[in-house]
Symmetry: C2
Subunit: 278 residues, 2 copies
């Protein structure tokens, strides 16, 4: 397995910082360079031991051709930053965005760019919360075919070195699946939170707390993700609307058997998740 | 404050068992009697130190008039069990059900019955998971006016002795509020879980896991709760459908500003919960 020599990370927040921490642990010889907008923040990440050096995004410089580039920015900023890294000479560039289709199509002529989505995160932000084990045994989607593209194979190897399980998918398939596994749950959590008024908050229990936790995420990051996965989100919303309507009908008609069936379909699926992940 | 001498609990599962554990801790002199259907289970709860004695539900016996009765059964079994405790001589009887209107209206001529809802729980079941601190600093809704009804005042005092914060509400108001703070989130969690196929489960992250946790609850218990709070649930479903439609419209029209507003309304509310409870 190829071990990287230089890793260039654009965006040293929770994800970028955690990649740095995980890469430092897995590949002690690796030189890690951070790129961002705030000299103070970047220097603090150096001081914390996450980075070896930093550059401002406005002055990325030129990289030797073995550098592996990773963009950890909000989805609407990924394409421009990836192009910048490619121009600066990185031999392979990938990203960590939650949406893949719009990014991969804008960069489809760049054989050195590979879309990635490490499915790991936290509602926290900032490299101060970086965690070297954030990616361990989690799934990372890598777009493309490792047998056809050396960049895809190299990207997959990188994530595997951080302990991730790699699954190959095309960008459209990724966005369709993630609409249901991530983007819809975020919207439903947001809906659940919005339906309770401030004065009613004291009548919530741990169930409400868990179900709505991800609704506290950043509006900028999430509206950007939802808008970049328009088709996937609209399909998922339609599916959710149908299921909500099934609840309505069963409750309206007092159909206990039907309600139990609807509940059990979801409960069985959810219990399977506990069985597979623990 | 009056300290109870005898507590009779019908249904010694997670909630009944936790009340026994909490009451044992708060009122060491209290005699705790469990009523249920399985001699083996009831004896095991005695052996675990939760109960002092037990009776089968078919042979409840007769209680001295200072006994305080508590029904911890699924909502569709509460009314019958409460009547049984009243006939058996308990001087005050309350319950722990998640729905209040149907139960309180069937028992409205019983001045000794008071509806309660301790808002605390877990997705686990069985007295083996009983926790003496389950109720500490959590809210308990008690129906009625403590200044008008000695039974209401006594019930409130009981929950306070377990460390709960008591709020008085009428049954209809309780059901309307809990439809949004609890019953709707359970349905939305169920919808989120049902929208993901088994083969897609590996592409879920911790967000999906948290949002759908309560979807794994018991179908019998939850279909019974939803059907007993028909009006509240139908209103809450309509409100959720409207919000989901706002997401759809903003995404369909690519309205980033509107999407950010929708998100922020919910996010602000959810963050307030963290501020008030931690």
């Amino acid at each position: 397995m190829q071990t990287e020599r230089t890793l260039v990370i654009v965006g040293v927040g929770l994800i970028g910082g955690s990649v740095a921490a995980a890469a430092r642990k897995a590949m002690p010889e690796l030189r890690i360079v951070g790129i961002g907008r705030s000299p103070q923040r970047l220097q603090a990440a150096v001081d914390q031991g996450l980075l070896d050096a930093w550059h401002l995004q406005a002055a990325v410089g030129q990289w030797s051709d073995d550098a592996f580039g990773l963009v950890c920015l909000p989805v609407d900023q990924i394409t421009a930053a990836a192009k910048q890294l490619l121009q600066a000479g990185c031999s392979t560039v990938t990203d960590a965005g939650s949406v893949k289709e719009p990014i991969c199509s804008l960069l489809q002529n760049e054989a050195r760019f590979v879309g990635s989505h490490p499915i790991a995160g936290s509602e926290q932000s900032g490299f101060e919360h970086a965690c070297a084990d954030l990616f361990r045994q989690r799934v990372c989607v890598v777009c493309g075919d490792p047998n056809q593209s050396p960049s895809t194979a190299r990207t997959a190897a990188f994530w595997r070195q951080l302990g991730m399980v790699v699954r190959f998918m095309n960008p459209a398939e990724h966005d369709r699946v993630l609409a249901r596994t991530s983007h819809l749950p975020h919207m439903l959590a947001s809906v659940a939170a919005a339906c309770v008024s401030d004065s009613e908050l004291e009548f919530t229990g741990t169930g409400f707390r868990d179900t709505t936790r991800i609704a506290a995420g950043s509006a900028e990051i999430w509206s950007s993700i939802l808008l970049q996965n328009r088709a996937g989100c609209l399909n998922a919303i339609a599916a959710a609307g149908d299921l909500l309507d099934q609840f309505r009908q069963a409750i309206e008609t007092g159909n206990s058997q039907r309600l139990t069936e609807i509940w059990n379909t979801a409960a069985t699926r959810r219990r399977r998740l506990d069985q597979t992940q623990t």
